[in-house]
Structures are given as C-alpha cells and as structure tokens.
C-alpha cells in the first residue's frame, strides 16, 4: 500500500514539467561544478605528486562537489516537497485517501518514499560524475561511499521536513518558503558562535552542516547517522500527527 502511494507520487512528479526542469537544471549545475573541480585538480596535480600523503582525487574533486550539491538540494527540496500534501488538501483529494482503508502512517510514509526516490535519482545522476573518473584513475571508493551516504541522509532529513511543512498549509508556496527557512536555519545554526568563541555544543549538534562535514571527510560516526535518522523520524511523526488532526479539527 505504501508503495502504491509512493509510485503514484513519483509518477505524478514526472507528469509535471517541474520534475524534468529540476533534473535538467540541477544536472547542468552539477556538471559545471564537477568540471571546475576537475580543472582545479589538474592544476594542482604536479605539486601534489611531490607531497607525501597528499589529498587524493576524492578529497579535491568529490568532497567540494558534494558539499555544494547539498546546498543546491537545500534550495531544490522545498520545491519538490511543497505540493505533496498542500495540493491534495487544496484540491480536496485528501478525502480519497482518508476514506480508503489505509492508515495515516501509510499515507505519509508512502508520500515520503515517493519524493525521496525522486531526489535519490538526482543524487544517482550526481554520483555518476565522479564514478566516470574511474576510467582514468583510481578512486577512494570508501570515501566516496561515505560522501554519498552523507548526502542521502541529508536529503532524507530535508524531505521529511518538507513534507511536514506541506502538511501544515493549503498553499504550496507557503510550504516551500517555510521549508526553505527551516532548512537554512538548520544549516547555519552553528555559525552563531563560530566567529569568536567556539560554538556551543548544542548548536553545533543541531547543525545539519556540522554532521555532513565529517561524513564528507570519510568519517563515519554513528552520532551523525543517528542525527539524520532522528530528524527524519521526528518530522514524519509530526506529519502523521498533523494529518490525524485534520479529522479532529475543531
């Protein structure tokens, strides 16, 4: 049942030009970032050869690419998640789901997986770029995998937040702007103290960027993974509660 809903969500994304436009634009920007990163590496290559324990291709090409990819996804995710529930609410199609023999959890998780699989397609296309370097050189695949895992975890948390915001309102644009605001806040939250004194531990822990950076360095720590899973589960739970409250509205 979850997959029925997920499948329809993904299909209707591709029925609108939005999904294709996003795929095209994002791919173009990724390609540009990737090529400029490869260019940097080429320029540094001769000097790197003389160093002991010099950073490899993955450090110089992939890590900055993925870091920028996450920023781009921070801008894109709200656009994809905004209509998921708000549009159904506005077109009064939610009652189709409400009167079918399915639970609220199935509705939310189904929609979540549908949107997430679209974003994973985006990430898959991105991953192909560094993998294409395998033709000419060796890559640190472990580091690449850690980076991909990090990116996947980041977008799964982004998507959950977006779906929750979409469940709050009837206006897709309002959902988009609030999602964007919250994502950006979580991204920059540890900047507050970072100019002078070290950022407070709590703010650093809350920051999305902080946890992502260590994964990009190839550092797989369960704290980071749990952080993203917690955010995902928390916001999906909120969304289920919100949908339930629709029936109880006073």
């Amino acid at each position: 049942m979850i997959f029925t809903i997920a499948g329809r969500e993904l299909r209707s994304l591709f029925l609108s030009p939005l999904a294709w436009a996003i795929l095209g634009v994002v791919q173009f920007i990724y390609a540009y970032l990737f090529l400029s990163q490869v260019e940097t590496f080429m320029a540094l290559q001769s000097r790197l050869a003389t160093l002991d324990g010099a950073p490899g291709v993955v450090d110089i090409v992939v890590a900055p690419l993925f870091a920028n990819a996450a920023v781009l996804l921070l801008l894109i995710t709200p656009l994809i998640t905004m209509r998921v529930l708000s549009e159904e609410r506005r077109n009064r199609t939610l009652s189709l789901l409400f009167s079918a023999p399915i639970s609220m959890t199935e509705i939310i998780v189904g929609k979540y997986l549908g949107v997430l699989s679209f974003i994973l397609i985006l990430i898959g296309m991105l991953a192909l770029m560094p993998l294409s370097l395998l033709v000419g050189t060796d890559l640190d695949l472990g580091k690449l995998a850690a980076g991909l895992l990090g990116l996947t975890l980041v977008v799964s948390a982004f998507t959950a937040i977006g779906i929750f915001m979409s469940s709050l309102t009837e206006q897709p644009t309002v959902a988009a702007i609030t999602t964007f605001g919250l994502l950006l806040l979580l991204w920059i939250i540890d900047w507050a103290g970072s100019s002078g004194a070290p950022a407070s531990g709590l703010l650093a822990y809350l920051s999305v960027l902080h946890h992502y950076e260590s994964l990009l360095k190839g550092l797989f720590s369960s704290v980071d993974v749990i952080y993203y899973l917690l955010i995902t589960i928390l916001f999906l739970g909120f969304s289920i509660r919100r949908l339930d409250a629709d029936r109880l509205q006073h």
């Binding site: 049942m1 029925t4 809903i5 329809r8 209707s12 029925l15 609108s16 077109n91 009064r92 199609t93 939610l94 009652s95 189709l96 789901l97 409400f98 009167s99 079918a100 023999p101 399915i102 639970s103 029936r247 109880l248 509205q249 006073h250």
Partner: protein, 317 residues
Amino acid sequence: MSSEALIRVEHLTRYYSGTCAVNDVSFELARGEVLGFLGPNGAGKSTTMQVISGNLAPSAGKISINGIDLLDQPKAAKAEIGYLPEQPPVYRELSVDEYLDYCARLNRIARKHRARAIDTARERCGLGEVRSRLIGNLSKGYQQRVGIAQAIIHTPSLVILDEPTVGLDPIQIREIRGLIRELGEDHGIILSTHILPEVQATCNRVQIIHRGKLVFSDSTECLEKDLNVTAFTVRFQQAPDITALQQIAGVDRVEALADGRFRIQHSASNPVDDLLEQAVSKHWRLSELTPERHTLEQIFIELTCSEEHAVTHGDAA
C-alpha cells in the same frame, strides 16, 4: 433495532469551534435501502457524511458499519464504504483509467480482480468513451461520474454520495438516478441533496436535517400516502348548505372556513366535475377553486423555516 443493519449511527454529535454542527443524530440503514438526506445549506448534511465516511472524527457518538466500529477498526470499516465528497476527489493530471487503477489499488483490490473491477465501475458510470482522457480536461459532469466510479469500484456495502447530481445536465441526472436505483438493489446508499424531486425519484427513505438535528425521518412510501391525501378549497359567493356538498360523490369530508370557503377532502375519484355542475345549476357562484398541494417541499419548508418546531420524528407529515 435489527442486528443486520448496514450502518448504525448512535447519538452522533460534532462540534466546530463551539458551534454544534451535528447534534445527537441517530439512524440506521439496511441493505437495499436508499436514504435521502435533505436539509438547507449549512444544516449539517455534509458534516454527517464526512463523519460516517471516516473523514472527520465525531465529538461524541458511535458509528458501526456492518457491525464494525468505525473508530476502533477504521481500516476494516472503511473497506466497506465508498464515499463521494461534495467535490469529486480526482487528480487532474491522471487519465480516467490511471485514476481508477490507483483507486482500485488504494482499496486493496487483488491484482487479478482489478481489471474487472475497473471495467465494471467504468461501464456503470458511462465512462467508456473518455477512459484515456485526462480528468482535468473532462467536463464537470464527467468528473462527477469519475467520482462516483471511484466510490463504487470496490463494491462497498455502503455508498455515501454527497450531492451526486450537482453540475450534471438533465440527461446525466436521469442516468445517475438510474444508476443510484440500480446500486440500491444490492448496496446501501446514503445520498444528500437539496433537490426534492430527486429524493422522491430515487430514495425509499427520507431524513430531513435542520440545524444539526434530525427533524424528520420516514419512508417515501408512507410519505406518498400522506401526499395522496388530496383536498381543495372552494369559495362560493352564495354559499350552499354544507350537507349539499357532503352529498357529492367522492367527497370525504367538508370543512367550512370563513368567507364562504370550504375545504373539501376527497378520495381517489375526483369530485370536481360534479361539484362544478351543481355549482352552475344551483347558482352557488363559484369564485375560487384551489387544489391543495401537500408535497415533500411543503414538509421541508414547514420543518426548516419555522423557528419553533417539534423535534419528534415523523409527526410533521
């Protein structure tokens, strides 16, 4: 109360921010019955339907469908319900076939039965010609039919239709009414409307709801009987003796009113011809003859327009 009631609603109450939209409504429906829900705008028709379809939680009360409690086992109960809300819940970007396929999956119709269920629903609602068109490009009437197809695709035992004939042309309305009667043979149907002849044409039970309260509940058969009590008022300028009127064939009862008016109740055979003949020959000088209309409309208006009215069931007829 029979135990095999398809749906039983007990003391259903629903508040919206302090105002009481539905107040202590109880009724039940058996298989093969078509129940018409009547009421002016804002009377609580839609709210009641949303509650019994599981789209809204009741503030108080109990709803069981086929003996399954809607609040305790929502999944099992909802499998027995098909619901068409006021606005058909259709996805504009899907074609009719894609949409019905999605609905069939949502209602957990097994893969091998799915194609047939879709075919049946499509044929019943006359959607064969538009099956591969996008729902967003269809007219309102066709969208409404898609909504009905969605409600009956899993052959639920209870079909709830909220104003199913809104936006349809007269021919489509007739078709949909035919469809409702056909469905009513083996499903239970609850439909809301404010078109009174529709109720008389399709339903075998009527309930009128006003300000959240059930003010009238009767079968249309009984109603017809009441409606068949026929009477007319006559006025003569030279009023005859009341016994002379009583002796006319077919007259059951004569009441003398003011100003030389008489209210004449008659049985099946209409005594108007005889009355006119006598009036001419005996020079009563007839000046007025008004047949009395006692229709559902009258009951409806009586019940919903008066400020103070009795809330007992069925006594208003």
